[in-house]
C-alpha cells in the first residue's frame, strides 16, 4: 500500500478553518481532513456504519462550512429572479427551495437553497468551496436592484440531523411544531434554549432537519441532540457518508456533476428551470435547449459487476468514447456500484448498456432510472 495520507495533511500555507464544532469532532473520535479550506470530519465509526445509521435511524452532520448570504431589500425578489433559474416568487415566508445561480450559458455558478424569511428578506445557502465566488457574483449583479447582499457565513453554524428517527429526536428539544413542519418548510424556534432556524431539508434522501444556530450555541445544541438521540441510535456522521447518501438519492454535487460547463438542463434538473418567470441570466440558452433538446444528459447507471466507477472515468460504447463519469461509488445501502455520467442522446433509456474504462479495463454498466434510492413514506 502506498503510505496512506492521514487526516490533517495541509497543502496550503494557511491552516484550514475550524467550525464551532471542531473540538466536538475531536472528542467524538472524528477523522479530520481538509475540505474546501476547512478541517472537517470525514468519518467517525466508518462510512458504511454511518450511512446505514442514517438510512435506518439517524445521523448528525456538521455542515457549518457551507456559506450563507442575506439578500435583503425591496428589490430582493427581482434580484433573485434575475440571477437564478427557479421561480423565487413561488416561495412564501417559511418556505425554501432548491435553485441555481446561472451563468450566461445556462450553467451553474452554484446550486443553492433559497429561504424566504419574509417579504424582501431571503437567506441563501451556498457550497463551501464556492462561497467567495458566489458572493462576488451576487455583488456584481446587484447593481441596479434595490438590494443588499450580506455575507452571513460567520453568523451561522449548521447542523444536519438526518434519518427516519430525526423527528422523534428533535421533538422534545424544541418548541417548533416538528410534526407539522412540511418538507422544505422552516421555522424560527428554540432548540434547548438556543434560537435557531429549523428547516426540514437535507442532502441524504431521508427525512431530516437542518438547524441554523449561532456559533456560540452550536456545541451545546450538538451535545443536546446526541444525548436525546442516544436511545434512538443517533451517531455522528462525516463527509464520506454525506457523499454516499446524496449519490444514492441522486443529488448533484458541485464540482463533480455540475459546474460552469454543464447547463441546468444537461444536468437533468429541468424541474428547477422556470422559463416563464421572466428574464434571468442564461434564460436564452436554456430556452433553446428546452425547445431543441440537449445533446448530452446526466444519467444514473449501475455497474454490472463489483468494480467501482469513479469521477473522471470515460464511458464507451464499443470503441467509441461517448461520455464521462462525474460521480461514482460503492453504494452502502444498495450494496452495488452506482454512478452518474454525461451520456449522449440515444443512450438515456434505462437498460442501455455501455462500458466504463476503469484504469485501462472496460467494465460493463447499464443506465438505470434515478433516484437510485427513495425513502418509503
Amino acid at each position: 500500500m502506498p503510505a496512506p495520507t492521514g487526516g490533517g495533511s495541509v497543502t496550503e500555507t494557511t491552516a484550514p478553518r475550524r467550525t464551532p464544532l471542531h473540538d466536538v469532532h475531536v472528542s467524538a473520535g472524528g477523522r479530520l481532513v481538509e475540505f474546501a479550506g476547512w478541517s472537517m470530519p470525514v468519518q467517525y465509526e466508518g462510512v458504511l456504519a454511518e450511512h446505514t445509521a442514517v438510512r435506518t435511524r439517524a445521523g448528525l452532520f456538521d455542515v457549518s462550512h457551507m456559506g450563507q448570504a442575506a439578500i435583503r431589500g425591496p428589490g430582493a425578489l427581482q434580484f433573485l429572479q434575475r440571477v437564478t433559474c427557479n421561480d423565487v416568487s413561488r416561495l412564501a415566508p417559511g418556505r425554501a427551495h432548491y435553485n441555481a445561480l446561472t451563468t450566461p450559458g445556462g450553467a451553474f455558478v452554484d446550486d443553492l437553497l433559497v429561504y424566504m424569511l419574509g417579504p424582501g428578506d431571503y437567506l441563501v445557502v451556498l457550497n463551501a468551496a464556492n462561497t467567495p465566488k458566489d458572493l462576488a457574483w451576487l455583488g456584481k449583479h446587484a447593481g441596479g436592484f434595490h438590494v443588499e447582499v450580506v455575507d452571513d457565513s460567520d453568523r451561522w453554524a449548521l447542523l444536519a440531523l438526518q434519518g427516519p428517527r430525526a423527528a422523534d429526536i428533535l421533538r422534545p428539544l424544541t418548541d417548533a411544531e416538528v410534526s407539522t413542519l412540511r418538507y422544505y418548510g422552516f421555522v424560527r424556534a428554540s432548540v434547548r434554549g438556543a434560537e435557531c432556524i429549523v428547516a426540514r431539508t437535507g442532502y441524504t434522501g431521508e427525512d431530516g432537519f437542518e438547524l441554523f444556530v449561532s456559533p456560540e450555541a452550536a456545541a451545546a445544541v450538538w451535545e443536546a441532540l446526541m444525548q436525546a438521540g442516544a436511545s434512538h441510535g443517533l451517531v455522528p456522521a462525516g463527509l464520506a457518508a454525506r457523499d454516499t447518501l446524496r449519490l444514492e438519492a441522486r443529488m448533484a454535487l458541485y464540482g463533480n456533476d455540475i459546474d460552469e460547463t454543464t447547463s441546468v438542463l444537461e444536468a437533468d434538473l429541468g424541474w428547477i428551470v422556470k422559463l416563464d418567470k421572466g428574464e434571468f441570466v442564461g434564460r436564452e440558452i436554456l430556452d433553446r435547449q428546452r425547445r431543441e433538446g440537449v445533446t448530452r444528459k446526466l444519467i444514473g447507471f449501475e455497474m454490472t459487476g463489483r468494480s467501482i466507477a469513479r469521477h473522471g472515468h470515460a464511458a464507451f460504447r464499443g470503441d467509441e468514447r461517448v461520455g464521462i463519469v462525474t460521480s461514482g461509488s460503492y453504494a452502502p445501502w444498495l450494496k452495488k456500484s452506482i454512478g452518474l455520467a454525461y451520456l449522449p442522446a440515444g443512450m438515456w433509456k434505462p437498460g442501455t448498456p455501455f462500458d466504463v474504462d476503469i484504469r485501462g479495463r472496460r467494465e460493463s454498466a447499464a443506465v438505470v432510472a434515478t433516484p437510485f434510492y427513495k425513502r418509503s413514506r
Binding site: M1, P2, A3, P4, G6, V42, Q43, G46, V47, L48, A49, A240, D243, T244, R306, S307, I308, R310, S329, Y330, P332, S337, R359
Partner: protein
C-alpha cells in the same frame, strides 16, 4: 498486534513465509487508514511479479489503493473469498484477509523487509 513471524513492507503489506511460499496481505494499520474496504482486485493465479510491482488494488468507498508485491515470484493462490467479502480485510487483515500466495523466485528478498518491531516503529513515527 503485529505477528513476530511475519515480515513487513514500508507500503504496509505483510508476508508469512512457509518454505518458498509467501502469503501476502495488508496490515492492520493499512486497513485502519483505508476505512471500510468495499472491493479487492487481486492478481491472477499464475502471474509472475517482481518485488515492488503492483499486485492489485484495494478500494475503500472513497479511494483506490495499490497493493505492492513485497517479494517477487509466481502467484500460486488467490483468496477468492475476498470477492464477496472484501470487508474481511478490515475485520481480519492478518489471517482470513490474506490476498494471495507467491512462490518466491528469490527468497533472500525477505531479508529486505522489516521485522515486527521495525514495522511497529515505522507506524508510530
Amino acid at each position: 498486534m503485529y505477528p513476530k513471524e511475519f515480515r513487513y513492507s514500508k507500503e504496509h503489506e505483510w508476508i508469512a513465509v512457509d518454505g518458498d511460499v509467501a502469503t501476502v496481505g495488508i496490515t492492520d494499520f493499512a486497513q485502519s487508514e483505508l476505512g471500510d474496504i468495499v472491493y479487492v482486485e487481486g492478481p491472477a493465479s499464475g502471474r509472475r511479479v517482481g518485488a515492488g510491482e503492483v499486485l492489485g488494488t484495494v478500494e475503500s468507498v472513497k479511494a483506490v489503493s495499490e497493493i505492492y508485491a513485497p517479494v517477487g515470484g509466481e502467484v500460486v493462490a488467490v483468496n477468492a473469498a475476498l470477492t464477496d467479502a472484501p470487508q474481511t480485510l478490515n475485520t481480519d487483515p492478518h489471517k482470513e484477509g490474506w490476498i494471495c500466495r507467491i512462490r518466491m523466485a528469490a527468497p533472500h528478498e525477505v531479508d529486505d523487509l522489516l521485522d515486527a518491531d521495525a514495522y511497529e516503529k515505522l507506524i508510530l513515527s
